[in-house]
């Protein structure tokens, strides 16, 4: 019996969904390692270079997929004791279990992928209503207030740019994961502070790390279920 590749893949998807376990991609950031070099911004540099993220001088219109902010801004003023006050923490899209942005998007331009839980972004469909930006409790999303190209010094043709009028954010490097790689930030981090993997797989590095050490997340009380964990 001959079967086309397309049909085979569809069958495989059905079978995997029935019997396979979906992955839950998560990231664990060891802040102690990150703080060995507090001025380091290699993760942001690598990400923004790989994805043609423009560098916009006006902070009101900046576009950032991963960035650093002070501990008290990331986790709330009330949670920053003297040991960590002012320390820079890498922040990015948390690819939440229950993403508010996905709930509110009126066109389905952002959605949570079944197979691995990545919160994806379809810039072809986005109408630029910015409802997702209003909904995100973490400020993880950026909007193209104008054409980004003038703000790109070099363009990497391997990845598209975006147009004015659409929202963008970290994608956990879906294009790299598709080739068996890891997110750019994780790969480049000099002290190897970032660990990435399938949190639902008990044998993965990230799952074992979360088993061994206490980790905390941003605004867990909101029920969004963020998948970026911080270790101290």
């Amino acid at each position: 019996m001959k079967i086309t590749r397309k049909a085979f893949l569809a069958l495989l998807a059905v079978v995997t969904r029935a019997f396979g376990r979906p992955r839950r991609m998560a990231m664990a950031i060891d802040l102690a390692k990150c703080w060995k070099d507090r001025g380091c911004t290699r993760c942001a540099q690598a990400c923004h270079a790989a994805h043609n993220v423009p560098r916009i001088p006006d902070p009101r219109r900046e576009i950032k997929w991963i960035w650093k902010d002070r501990f008290e801004n990331a986790f709330g003023r009330e949670s920053a004791g003297p040991a960590v006050a002012g320390a820079p923490v890498p922040l990015l899209c948390n690819h939440c279990e229950h993403p508010a942005c996905v709930k509110v998007c009126p066109t389905g331009a952002t959605w949570k992928r079944d197979g691995d839980g990545l919160v994806m972004m379809d810039e072809h469909r986005c109408i630029g209503c910015r409802y997702c930006m209003a909904a995100c409790p973490y400020g993880a999303r950026s909007f193209n207030w104008s054409d980004p190209r003038p703000f790109l010094r070099t363009i990497d043709p391997a990845y598209p740019t975006r147009t004015r009028g659409v929202v963008e954010k970290c994608t956990f490097c879906a294009e790299r994961l598709a080739r068996g790689g890891r997110p750019a930030c994780v790969e480049v981090c000099p002290p190897k502070a970032m660990v990435f993997g399938d949190a639902a797989d008990p044998s993965s590095a990230v799952a074992q790390l979360l088993q061994a050490r206490h980790a905390f997340r941003r605004k867990p009380e909101l029920g969004a279920g963020p998948n970026v964990f911080y270790l101290l």
Partner: protein, 384 residues
């Protein structure tokens, strides 16, 4: 001349008014084209304050549209004849308000050319999807009924019975459009300023204050005699609704400040207090039955809901950053243009309604159809 033609001709003041509106609209279209070309960078919004004046004005005018229920419900559900001369105006105001609020959405979008995606890819979990459907349905309801009622009036006949059924449907529909709009904000876990069950009741209360206030002002502006009792009752609705609105707002203040949760209180800026103060003053004027109360109530709510509420939800940001929001000239020009579209619609539609009603009442009276020779259309055509 037909009734429509009669309605469109008028004094010099009227012609200047229409010319000014047209000029504002043309300017706004040009500004919007510029904004589409260069992007929303031409506005005062930012990464932290993703929504500003456009969404605020959208919110406010959905409320004004919903307020038609304050005249529709007594008249259609409780046969309150006193509102007989004002119901049609409420419906026409609702039509103009929905058009205005939809325009505010269109100019706020980063990619308005992809507008149809909302319908092509329905997202039932998104309140914006449902709100768009509800608004368009409400526009259709009011449009269909207003046209039927006006046409019947011009012919000197009572409106068809199905119009009553549709107007009864529009009562819960009106409540739903503004409740859905409130849900847009009240369901966001990440925005503590909006995350309150009081959002929808506050929206309805402020809408039921702003709408009647505007109706009173428009009756004065058009020198239209809606009837002593109707105006008194409209003023009463406005006052009670404004009281409820201010009361609910004060409840919010209590919860935010007594609980002591820093994130909740942080959203109360000098602008919030200023607009709240204005609302209190307007309420005082309404309670004191001042002649200027409708203008004060309308203006204070246009500011509180249409200007302050939305940016305040974003300041401070989830990370505690305070990014001030100030509308730019482009933004203000586009807002003015959309207001002008609303004013144009109100002017034309009200004049038609008033002309139809005037021709009608100069004959045998409202009850029972007049003879063919004395219908408003026949009279108007004879005068031609």
């Amino acid at each position: 001349m037909t009734v429509l033609a009669k309605a469109m001709s008028g004094s010099r003041a009227y012609r200047w008014w229409m010319a000014a509106l047209a000029a504002a609209i043309v300017a706004g279209v040009l500004l919007w084209l510029r904004q589409w070309n260069r992007g929303l960078v031409l506005t005062g919004m930012s990464r932290d304050v993703a929504w500003g004046l456009y969404v605020g004005q959208f919110t406010f005018f959905v409320g004004v549209a919903a307020s038609a229920v304050t005249v529709v419900l007594p008249y259609y559900l409780h046969a309150w004849k006193a509102f007989g001369r004002v119901v049609i105006l409420g419906e026409l105001l609702a039509i103009a308000s929905i058009v205005v609020s939809l325009l505010f959405i269109v100019v706020d979008m980063g990619r308005p050319d992809r507008l149809l995606n909302v319908l092509l890819y329905p997202s039932p979990s998104s309140l914006m999807f449902w709100d768009m459907l509800a608004l368009m349905g409400y526009l259709a309801l009011n449009g269909i009924v207003a046209r039927a009622v006006l046409a019947a009036e011009i012919d000197g006949a009572p409106p068809a019975t199905w119009t009553r059924a549709i107007m009864l449907i529009s009562i819960p529909w009106a409540v739903s459009i503004h409740t859905l709009t409130a849900f847009l904000y009240a369901g966001l876990a990440g925005r503590p300023f909006w995350l309150t069950a009081a959002m929808a009741p506050r929206f309805l209360a402020s809408a039921f204050a702003a709408g009647p206030a505007l109706l009173i002002l428009l009756c004065r502006a058009f020198r239209y005699d809606a009837g002593e009792e109707a105006l008194r009752k409209l003023s009463l609705v406005m006052t009670y609704a404004m009281t409820a609105n201010v009361f609910l707002a004060l409840m919010e203040v209590f919860t935010a400040f007594y609980s002591g949760i820093p994130e909740h209180a942080a959203h109360y800026s000098p602008w919030t207090w200023l607009s709240g103060g204005f609302a209190l003053a307007a309420l005082a004027m309404a309670l004191g039955r001042s002649r200027y109360a409708p203008a004060a109530v309308f203006a204070s709510l246009a500011i509180d809901k249409g200007v302050v509420l939305i940016p305040a939800g974003f300041i401070p940001s989830p990370a505690g950053a305070v990014t001030p929001y100030l509308p730019t000239a482009v933004e203000l020009g586009i807002v003015l243009a959309i207001w002008s579209v609303g004013a144009l619609l109100v002017t034309v539609l009200f004049r038609i309604a008033i002309a139809a009603r005037a021709a009608e009442s100069s004959l045998t009276g409202f009850d029972g159809p007049s003879t063919l020779h004395s219908t408003p259309r026949a009279v108007a055509e004879r005068e031609m």
